[in-house]
């Protein structure tokens, strides 16, 4: 986050914050350590791409949550609902376009998936707007109530999804051209994972650009650092917050579509399961820090895949282990946000 302030050209005259490079090395370091342990380079490539894909999807979901927390001190335990909602909307949207998803043409497949993603983002964003109004607004600044009320929102949301789509697991098959793998040298890489990495990277780039090169982004970053100062300069942080909340919900919807396609099925409980993962990620990253969230997500994704291959039993706890290690090193997360 503070990286961007330093590089913005019109701010060159201002004193710059020194870039904390050490955490940036964590991801390549983890990948390099894993290489000799796994042995075969082709397996390593497969696992790394899988880990990056998973990490990117988690980042898309978690980025909104961490910003919402950073801006207004609101931790939304109901974030998972938007993930589930996005995934179920994808089921409905893709189900309505079976002609295009079944065809072998990548173009037609994309033509089906993109509207599904846009629909999921739009609806999740809309529901997010209502959620903020009805559920979160009345309990600003009261942490205990916030935790409980957003949890209640999660219960009701999950039940409503069951009312609409039914409680059973629904398969969400990948479009035809997304299936199968590509051979990179000897390594087999699933196509969908590559697509997920590309989409994830696009979202990260767009978000990075928006946060570091636009005025709104500047205000958001400033708000995370010191809310009252931004307010005293005459900006309505409340409005900014609603915008960030809606955007975060929309991103969770997008992440839900991608997670659903990654798992190839959707259940009403998927949001709650992913919730645990994204909490770990934002704790690792430092609550409120998008850069930390990105690194945390990639670490979690990579470690889950490496340990899944090396020691499947350990894989179930790799996230917790990672969190404990990171917190022992930096108790406030990788990139502690200044005011906390």
């Amino acid at each position: 986050m503070n990286v961007s302030a330093a590089t913005a050209p019109d701010l060159d005259a201002l004193p710059t914050v020194k870039l904390d490079r050490l955490p940036l090395l964590l991801v390549p370091a983890l990948a390099l350590v894993a290489l000799p342990l796994i042995g075969s380079p082709s397996t390593w490539v497969t696992l790394t791409v899988a880990g990056l894909a998973m990490g990117m999807i988690i980042f898309i979901i978690a980025s909104g949550l961490t910003l919402v927390f950073g801006l207004m001190d609101v931790l939304n335990f109901g974030h998972g609902v938007f993930i589930t909602l996005g995934a179920y909307l994808a089921v409905s949207a893709l189900g309505a376009m079976t002609g295009w998803t079944a065809s072998e043409s990548l173009f037609l497949n994309l033509l089906a998936v993109l509207p599904a993603m846009l629909l999921a983002m739009a609806v999740a964003g809309g529901v997010g707007f209502a959620f903020e109004r009805v559920i979160i607004r009345p309990v600003y600044g009261q942490h205990l109530k916030q935790i409980m009320i957003t949890m209640g929102g999660m219960i009701v949301g999950e039940e409503l999804i069951k009312v609409i789509w039914g409680p059973q697991t629904i398969p969400l098959p990948l479009p035809a051209a997304f299936r199968g793998s590509l051979l990179l040298g000897e390594a087999a890489v699933e196509k969908y994972r590559l697509i997920a990495v590309v989409i994830g990277f696009c979202v990260f780039a767009a978000m990075f650009w928006a946060l570091s090169r636009t005025k709104v982004g500047l205000l958001i970053r400033a708000g995370v650092q010191d809310r009252e100062m931004v307010e005293s300069l005459g900006y309505r942080i409340r409005k900014l917050f609603v915008g960030v909340f809606v955007a975060g919900s929309a991103l969770a919807g997008l992440g839900g579509v991608m997670w659903g396609l990654y798992q190839q099925n959707v259940t009403p409980q998927m949001g709650a399961q992913v919730n645990v993962l994204i909490f770990i990620v934002i704790i690792i990253g430092g609550l409120g820090s998008v850069g930390g969230c990105f690194i945390g997500a990639l670490l979690v994704g990579l470690l889950a895949n490496y340990t899944g291959f090396l020691a499947p039993k350990v894989a179930l706890f790799s996230n917790i282990l990672l969190m404990v290690l990171i917190l022992l090193w930096r108790p406030q997360g990788i990139y502690p946000v200044a005011k906390r």
Binding site: F69, L75, F77, I135, P138, V139, H143, L144, K145, Q146, I147, M148, I149, M151, G152, G153, I155, V156, E159, L160, K162, V163, I164, P167, A272, N275, V276, F279, I280, I283, L287, K313, L316, F317, N319, I320, M323
Partner: protein, 353 residues
């Protein structure tokens, strides 16, 4: 007054509340005679177990102001402790004791560690950490299938006195046969009453007052010279201990334990709902909340089935009142109660005097 002393001076302080509590306690005490049938007795036993569990959660949430999502973890530890001990050591009272002791030791250790590790920071942080730890523990329990029975859980024998085959007298008493099921119910009931009164004692002690002070304003409590971390951790350990005992009761009653019966996140949500709807920080709220919730869980569905059938033909409505969607309505009640009456039913009743 002995009665006043038994309740640690913390009387219900409202006529309707008193009447409700007397009705519930009397109903539970005479359940085998008043409501014949296996289902009714099961419901009564479940209410007893959840009263202990919810009250122990209230000690943490309502009195200390800490949100933990790992409470079912301790509940599960208690249940698994008894289950594993009885499976391994055979059905004896010594095995029950060993199981409870081991479970308590594990719970104390774990809650102490989690508390020290994360109670120094904000409530939100603790909520997130416990959520992660609890979900990891659930995976852990279902992975250790040689010991815990995995997803299938454990079926085991309880000491002979508690089995339905055991009979105290040849003749039925007031139409109820005096078998092991009845003995286990009354054992459960007695332990519930004892544990509840003990918790009531704890929250009304000077120690409990400090917990409430920390809930209201931890900065001021710290300034008065109370080491908040120590008190919070201690409250965490205590409530974990009571939850463990509740888990042990559950295992003894069901003669079965698996991840879904004691560890699942659904139960965590249920406890949260019970505490809030009943009334946080009142202890009596646990009694009302648990009773209301479990009765609703078991009987509201019948009512909803009726409504669902009646609404057949109207779009969406039958799905909304479908018996499986009962949690939707309790969820809405939960949200409303956090807004409208954060002190729950008990607080609402006490306020009108």
């Amino acid at each position: 007054m002995t009665f006043n002393r038994m309740l640690s001076g913390d009387l219900p302080r409202n006529r309707i509340l008193t009447a409700l509590l007397i009705a519930i306690v009397a109903g539970l005490a005479l359940a085998p005679f008043l409501f014949p049938g296996a289902k009714a007795l099961n419901v009564a036993a479940k209410i007893c177990i959840f009263i202990v569990l919810v009250a122990s959660f209230d000690l943490l949430l309502g009195y200390t102001g800490i949100v933990s999502f790992a409470h079912t973890m301790f509940f599960g530890i208690g249940a698994y402790g008894v289950a594993i001990a009885l499976t391994r050591l055979g059905p004896s009272w010594a095995a029950v004791g060993a199981g409870i002791a081991a479970a308590l030791a594990l719970s104390f250790g774990l809650s102490f560690l989690i508390g020290l590790f994360s109670l120094r920071v904000k409530a939100i942080f603790y909520a997130m950490i416990t959520l992660a730890v609890a979900s990891a523990f659930q995976t852990f329990a279902s992975q250790l299938s040689e010991i815990t029975g995995g997803e299938d859980g454990l079926n085991f024998k309880v000491p002979e006195m508690l089995t339905p085959g055991f009979s105290l007298a040849e003749q039925p008493f007031l139409g109820v046969s005096l078998d092991g099921k009845l003995i286990s119910y009354y054992l459960l009931f007695a332990v519930t009453v004892a544990l509840f009164l003990l918790m009531l004692r704890i929250v009304n002690s000077p120690f409990g007052r400090v917990l409430q002070a920390i809930r209201e304003n931890d900065f001021r409590a710290e300034a008065l010279g109370y080491r908040t971390v120590v008190y919070r951790t201690f409250s965490n350990v205590l409530s974990a201990g009571f939850a463990t005992l509740a888990g042990a009761l559950l295992a003894l009653w069901l003669r079965y334990n698996g991840p879904d019966t004691s560890l699942s996140f659904e139960i965590m949500i249920d406890i949260l709902l019970m505490v809030v709807i009943g009334g946080m920080g009142t202890m009596y709220g646990a009694v009302l909340g648990a009773t209301l919730f479990i009765v609703a869980q078991n009987y509201l569905q019948d009512l909803m089935k009726f409504a669902s059938d009646a609404a057949a033909g109207i779009p969406l409505l039958p799905d909304l009142v479908h018996p499986d969607r009962w949690l939707l309505w309790l969820g809405i009640l939960f949200i409303l109660s956090v807004y409208r009456f954060p002190t729950g039913i008990v607080g609402k009743l006490r306020a009108r005097k």
